[in-house]
């Protein structure tokens, strides 16, 4: 799977439009859904997706396999783009728009299984975590709040925030490993 990604990426470097389109088709929904989870705004989410593929095409960021999975690299670019856009929008009042309420519908069975392979373990593991630890992960990773804001929201001294983040993430990882039952991690 990732070998195919790397091959497509190599072709993108040679300005192969079809290869970019293939990567787009493959990752559109994951990137859009992840961006939406971060920004809670459909318009911004589209901008994030656009930024990611623009970076890919103009080679503003370069990938090599030593950086881990291609998909993880792409998701990291998306997260950074979402953070950037949220910061910019904070400076000018932003009108929240919800033109349609598609995301309010129950996800179809097919959608639920969209990235089932990757999602099952992490979702199950997440449910085991206490609400407090889930909140740490949400504030830290998805909301990308500042150190100070995380401390305020959790009513913690600044100095203990990092420790809480590490504990929550480690706990999640332990639960994931337990669920994977020693199987090979999907690469």
């Amino acid at each position: 799977m990732s070998i195919q990604d790397e091959e497509l990426y190599r072709r993108v470097l040679h300005k192969d439009k079809d290869a970019l389109e293939s990567l787009y088709d493959k990752y559109e929904k994951l990137l859009f859904s992840f961006s939406y989870k971060m920004t809670n705004n459909r318009e911004l989410s589209e901008e994030v997706v656009q930024d990611v593929f623009m970076k890919l095409w103009t080679q503003k960021g370069t990938y090599d396999s030593s950086k881990g999975k291609f998909s993880s690299w792409l998701l990291t670019i998306a997260r950074n783009a979402a953070i950037d856009l949220m910061r910019k929008k904070k400076e000018t009042p932003y009108e929240l728009e919800e033109r349609d309420a598609l995301q309010a519908n129950e996800p179809s069975i097919e959608e639920m299984y969209e990235w089932k392979e990757e999602a099952t373990v992490v979702r199950q593991a997440m449910t085991v975590l206490k609400e407090e630890q889930q909140r740490v992960i949400r504030l830290f990773y998805f909301d990308a709040k500042s150190h100070r804001e995380i401390a305020e929201r959790l009513e913690l001294p600044l100095g203990t925030v990092k420790g809480r983040i590490r504990m929550a993430l480690k706990h999640l990882q332990t639960e994931m490993i337990r669920r994977e039952g020693g199987e090979e991690r999907h690469e």
């Binding site: 439009k17 970019l20 389109e21 787009y24 088709d25 559109e28 929904k29 994951l30 859009f32 859904s33 992840f34 939406y36 989870k37 459909r42 989410s45 589209e46 997706v49 656009q50 593929f53 623009m54 095409w57 103009t58 881990g68 999975k69 993880s72 998701l75 998306a78 997260r79 953070i83 950037d84 910061r87 033109r99 995301q103 996800p107 959608e111 639920m112 969209e114 990757e118 999602a119 373990v121 992490v122 979702r123 992960i137 830290f140 990773y141 998805f142 990308a144 709040k145 500042s146 150190h147 995380i150 600044l158 100095g159 925030v161 990092k162 983040i165 590490r166 993430l169 480690k170 999640l172």
Partner: protein, 256 residues
């Protein structure tokens, strides 16, 4: 000191540092093994978190918009200068209507426009008949450029009509851009006239005729109008395109 830098790790990971702070932190990161280890750990521990996202269906047509904007932008870069020249030529050929006697710098008004625009409740000053203002018929381009600060225009007495007025920089030239929607249809020589008001005295600032859907737009060069204290922008329906003072009712207005 070094420990203090280590405390910046969360804000670095979450893109919350200023450019300057980020540079400082990256210098620190090069030599701080514990920060490097922690950052690597966060990256690997968070790798699967995006998959927690609930599937959301993108807006229809997103693929076309994204890919075409990426490929288009590149083509524009390739043909860059050539393209710009063509655009400039085209602008010169836009329809000509009126030329302002007075023009105005946009910077001053830009500040005012950046404040929240509020609706004027009463536009009685327009019933005065100022004698001091006698603009000459002139020309004006009907080109819309990159929008900056905007005023929201509404009818003081309510209604469907609405619009926006913005100042844009166009090749370094300040322009007033007015757009309006859901305007009543015109008949005969009637036209919509934009006015800028200073102490109740109106100055012409663009004339336009909306399309069949009641949508209209006009731009007006503001060069040389920087020393004025504009208080209000108003649009009136005029019996003809060359009223020197407002004759008709205000259809849209905003305080500046």
């Amino acid at each position: 000191m070094s420990e203090k830098r280590c405390d910046m790790l969360i804000d670095y990971f979450n893109g919350q540092l200023t450019d300057e702070e980020e540079k400082q932190f990256e210098e620190h990161l090069e030599t701080c093994e514990s920060c490097q280890a922690e950052l690597d750990e966060w990256r690997s521990l968070t790798e699967d978190l995006p998959y927690l996202s609930e599937p959301v269906e993108p807006e229809s047509g997103m693929k076309d918009r994204v890919l075409s904007s990426i490929f288009d932008e590149e083509e524009q870069e390739e043909t860059g200068n050539e393209q710009k020249n063509i655009e400039r030529e085209q602008k010169k050929e836009e329809p000509v209507l009126f030329q302002p006697k007075k023009k105005r710098n946009w910077a001053v008004w830009g500040l005012a426009a950046a404040l929240t625009a509020s609706l004027i409740g009463n536009a009685a000053f327009l019933t005065q008949t100022p004698e001091t203002v006698a603009p000459e018929p002139s020309e004006e381009e009907v080109v819309i450029d990159n929008l900056q600060q905007a005023l929201t225009l509404q009818n003081p007495e309510g209604g469907e009509a609405n619009g926006r007025a913005s100042m844009v920089a166009n090749d370094g030239e300040a322009q007033l851009v007015v757009q309006a929607e859901q305007l009543d249809a015109l008949s005969g020589d009637e036209a919509y006239q934009v006015w800028l008001l200073e102490e109740g005295e109106p100055v012409r600032a663009g004339t336009f005729v909306p399309n069949e859907e009641g949508t209209g737009a006009v731009t007006y060069p503001m060069e040389g109008l920087q020393d004025r204290n504009w208080e209000t922008l108003a649009i009136t329906k005029e019996p003809g395109p060359d009223s020197e003072t407002p004759q008709g009712d205000i259809v849209l207005a905003s305080e500046i």
